[in-house]
Amino acid sequence: MALAFTFLSVLIYPAAIIMIVYFAVNGTKKGHSMSREAMIALILLSATVSGLVGLTFLPNKILGIESNALNFGIRIAIGVVLIIIGVIMKSKIQRNFILVLGLILIFLQSSYVFENFGSYGALIVVTMAFFALIIATVLLTRKHSNG
């Protein structure tokens, strides 16, 4: 977890400044006034970090749950709820953001699966990913053939 925090801070600190410059210049070239994109990028960046930290530690530090398995389950549940909310959303930015946040939250839990279940955990994660890919491929192909 500490490594993830450090990685986030080291990577995102210069990225924030680069984003301000890039979007400010690009946005004004397109004719946008002092860059709506910069605001959106900064808000999304901050919301991702604060959301990930807040939601990851929510079961343990606020709800006071000590059990590793229960923590893991609640985090997965929050991730799934976020994905469902994201699918329901109509606006493109909010939908994509909430979807990605939910996916990252679930993805971050893979370390707990490996720790608790070892190689079986790896097998569970890979099998789930495999079936998710198959279902997604089948659904997309069916939609394509109908359309």
Binding site: A2, L8, L55
Partner: protein, 224 residues
Amino acid sequence: MGRGVKIVLSIAIALIFPTMIGLLVFLVFPDNKNIPEPKYPQYTEISDYCNGYNSRNYSSRYSYDSDCITNREKNLQAEYNEKLKEYKKQKNSASINRINASLIAVIIGFIIAIFLTGFSPLSVGITGGSTILLMTTTGLLSGFSENINGFTIGLYLGCFAILIYLLFRLDSMFPEPDPILDTSTNNSSPEQTEAKKSEASSIYPTPASIKMPNEKPSPSKDIK
């Protein structure tokens, strides 16, 4: 205000805001340097306790009460570990207080950004500054992940809630400007603006200039 000036101003605000908050927090919440660090138990003290003489006395070293020394060493070691734990906790509490104060500043920064509607350098700068402060705070938190308490996580969740609100109200608070007729970003003269307007009317025809399919040709063409 020119484009370059706006960019420089927003970056300057984005850099100065976290620096200012950082300095303020460091001054208000001093590091606990006055807390004495616990001393590791010394072997001479243990031997003094058990035998009543100094172990550095080479000639008497074989007369130790080994059980007494072992027990005393265990007790002192446990006491030292407890003191060390408490010392680290007290030391970390100062840092956690600083992190909490910075997070409150981040929340205030984003609330200010909510009220500053419009893409001024101030709104972009304050949002950027709050973002940088949030990242720095999260980075600092990595060193104290064992000591994170519910209040800190509550602040993160509060920050997240404000940002989600900001995201959902983005269109109403920061409406997308007209890409063609927007004159707020450049220093174009009224003539240039008129030229842009005529260019816009050629791309997007006005109702008067639109010809209907069944419309009769104009008289000028009949004369020809």
